[in-house]
């Protein structure tokens, strides 16, 4: 049977290298063609996982422990599908966007390709050391993308991001070293029964180091200091990629470690602590988003806040009855998918508005409603998901989380979610209100190509429709 797993990693590697060889600014068309291919590969993989459960692939015919095993289960397939679904419209968007921003295009395509290869490999990895390597590759490619434009602001943000990401992956690697020291294995499959059978204190230390490192990379409050300048200062297609996908990759690993590998040793106290940090992220991130004067910084702080919702999953799913845990787990994963689609649309729409008006302050977007209604409509639709209004994917996710909080009688998380929802409504409407203000006729306004606007609408619609087809996503999740 044809196995799409290695090709999901090889395809972006190949097009990225070809784009690099072709020279600065080239390779967009090839990237789009290969991305369509990758999306179909991910869909084939999803069908195989639904039909036959977890799939393994030994790279080069050499399985673990000597070689590297790739593994695809329900969660990794959902992440792979999400990644290819978001990157494809963004590739069309980027091609249109860089027509007017040629100076920041230079190495966009090669870096995006390497980023994608690292991300796909990360989702398919089945041992903790291979995960370290992919995590590091992902970080380096992402830093390169932040530094793409050059100039003091982006280079400073890239440097800060690089130092944070290196610190995070070093802590993770130390955890891997400790695990290997105790058990003599790095395979997720082999480690799980060993940890369940006997876990000395060293393993708890390893778990803490790995989770802390990944939290730093996911920009969980209070480790979020590097995110807003890095995501807010990059060119719009890059911001969209970073906010929608890159931080989700490290969150995916936290999920894997917490619910799979370290499930026998995680405690309710640790889960409550993660939830408390998530609550801090929701309140502090939303508050700061509301205070921003620049459009992309507002969207970046909104990411800080939305990451908080992801971490509410842990107190709701740890140590609770199976039913509650299931509902919280589904809500958490739906939130990953919904936020990915909506935030990609939001950053892309922000980039389009900034291109059209030539100004990056929120006060500068007056009149957008009459000039580029399609983009503003997409921004508002994405806002519906961020706020968590029905029928969006964000609503379905937050509904499941709320249900789990009610069923487990942890009312304090409900308060946080409701206040967070109100604050996010406030910052989304802050932008919308400004967009509807009249503008003097003399204000210069650049018309946008159609290919810049339609991908944004597509992403926003996908985040909305997710609320209606969420059950399919969840059935894929349960397939493994």
């Amino acid at each position: 049977m044809f196995d799409p797993m290695p090709w999901l990693i090889l395809s972006p590697l190949i097009w990225a290298t070809l784009a690099f060889v072709h020279g600065p600014g080239r390779g967009g068309r090839l990237a789009v063609a290969c991305l369509i291919l990758q999306l179909s590969l991910a869909a084939i993989l999803a069908q195989q996982v639904i039909a036959g459960g977890v799939r393994m692939y030994a790279v080069g015919g050499w399985g673990a422990p000597l070689g590297i095993d790739l593994m695809a289960d329900g969660l990794s397939t959902v992440m792979l599908l999400l990644t290819q679904t978001i990157v494809l419209p963004l590739a069309f968007y980027a091609r249109a966007y860089f027509v007017g921003h040629a100076n920041s295009l230079r190495y966009f395509w090669p870096l995006t390709g390497y980023l994608l290869a690292a991300m796909n490999a990360l989702f398919l990895s089945s041992d903790v050391f291979n995960i370290y390597v992919t995590l590091e590759l992902l970080g380096l490619a992402a830093v390169g993308l932040v530094a793409l434009v050059g100039g003091a602001g982006p280079i400073t943000a890239a440097m800060r991001y690089l130092l944070a990401t290196l610190l995070g992956s070093s802590a993770y690697l130390l955890g891997v070293a400790l695990l290997y020291g105790v058990y003599g294995s790095v395979s997720l499959v082999a480690l799980k029964p060993l940890i369940a059978a006997d876990a000395p204190a060293t393993v708890s230390l390893a778990a803490a180091l790995m989770l802390l490192g990944l939290m730093l990379k996911t920009a969980l409050f209070p480790f979020h200091f590097w995110l807003p300048p890095a995501h807010g200062g990059a060119p719009a297609p890059v911001s969209a990629l970073l906010s929608a996908l890159v931080i989700k990759a490290s969150f995916y690993l936290i999920l894997r470690l917490w619910f799979d590998l370290f499930a026998p040793i995680v405690s309710i106290t640790a889960a409550q602590l993660l939830g408390a940090l998530g609550a801090g992220a929701i309140l502090w991130g939303s508050f700061l988003a509301l205070r921003q004067t620049h459009l992309k910084m507002l969207v970046a702080y909104s990411t800080v806040a939305q990451v908080g919702y992801l971490f509410l999953l842990f107190p709701l799913a740890t140590g609770m009855s199976a039913e509650v845990a299931e509902s919280a787990w589904q809500g958490g994963v739906l939130q990953v998918v919904a936020h990915g689609l909506a935030k990609a649309a939001m950053f892309a729409a922000a980039g389009a508005m900034i291109t059209a008006t030539g100004r990056d302050e929120i006060s500068g977007i007056a009149g957008v409603a009459t000039r580029i209604p399609l983009t503003l409509f997409a921004f508002a639709l994405a806002g519906v998901t961020i706020m968590g209004l029905p029928p969006s994917g964000g609503f379905a996710a937050k509904w499941l989380l709320l249900g789990a909080a009610l069923a487990s009688e942890q009312w304090w998380w409900i308060v946080v979610m409701v206040v967070g929802g109100l604050l996010s409504a406030a910052y989304v409407f802050k932008v919308l209100r400004q967009a509807f203000l009249p503008v003097e006729e003399t204000a210069s306004f650049q018309l946008l190509p159609r290919m810049l606007e339609w991908p944004i609408l597509l992403l926003a619609l996908a985040s909305l429709v997710l609320g209606l087809v969420g059950i399919e996503v969840l059935s894929l999740l349960g397939a493994a």
Binding site: L163, F225, T293, M297
Partner: protein
């Protein structure tokens, strides 16, 4: 004290030293060196801890080789960025944020 424990403790000490340097030192070159010390601590631990009954285990040695390659790539990227900052700002340190950690009014 077994030799594995000596390696592990030295590795842990190097890691903590490097982490403190990475966070506390303002000079970028020192930060980058501190990151490398941190890496060396982890590698020492990987090779040292994983001795089975006195015979070295080849798997962590392969991991350390991979780790060194990754660390070199990261160091090269950090140096390139630090040099660009030096050209633009005239000094090798990160500029202070305007109002503390989170910029309230940009």
């Amino acid at each position: 004290m077994s030799s594995a424990l000596v390696y592990a403790l030295t590795g842990a000490a190097l890691f903590v030293l490097g982490m403190a340097g990475l966070i506390l030192q303002p000079h970028l070159l020192r930060k980058i060196l501190a990151f490398n010390i941190m890496g060396s601590g982890i590698f020492l631990m990987l090779v040292g801890v994983a001795q089975r009954a006195g015979t070295p285990d080849p798997v962590p040695q392969a991991m350390v080789l991979t780790g060194i390659v990754v660390a070199i790539a990261a160091t090269a990227l950090a140096l390139a960025l630090a040099r660009q900052l030096l050209d633009m700002n005239g000094e090798m340190r990160l500029p202070e944020e305007k109002t503390g950690k989170d910029r309230l009014d940009v």
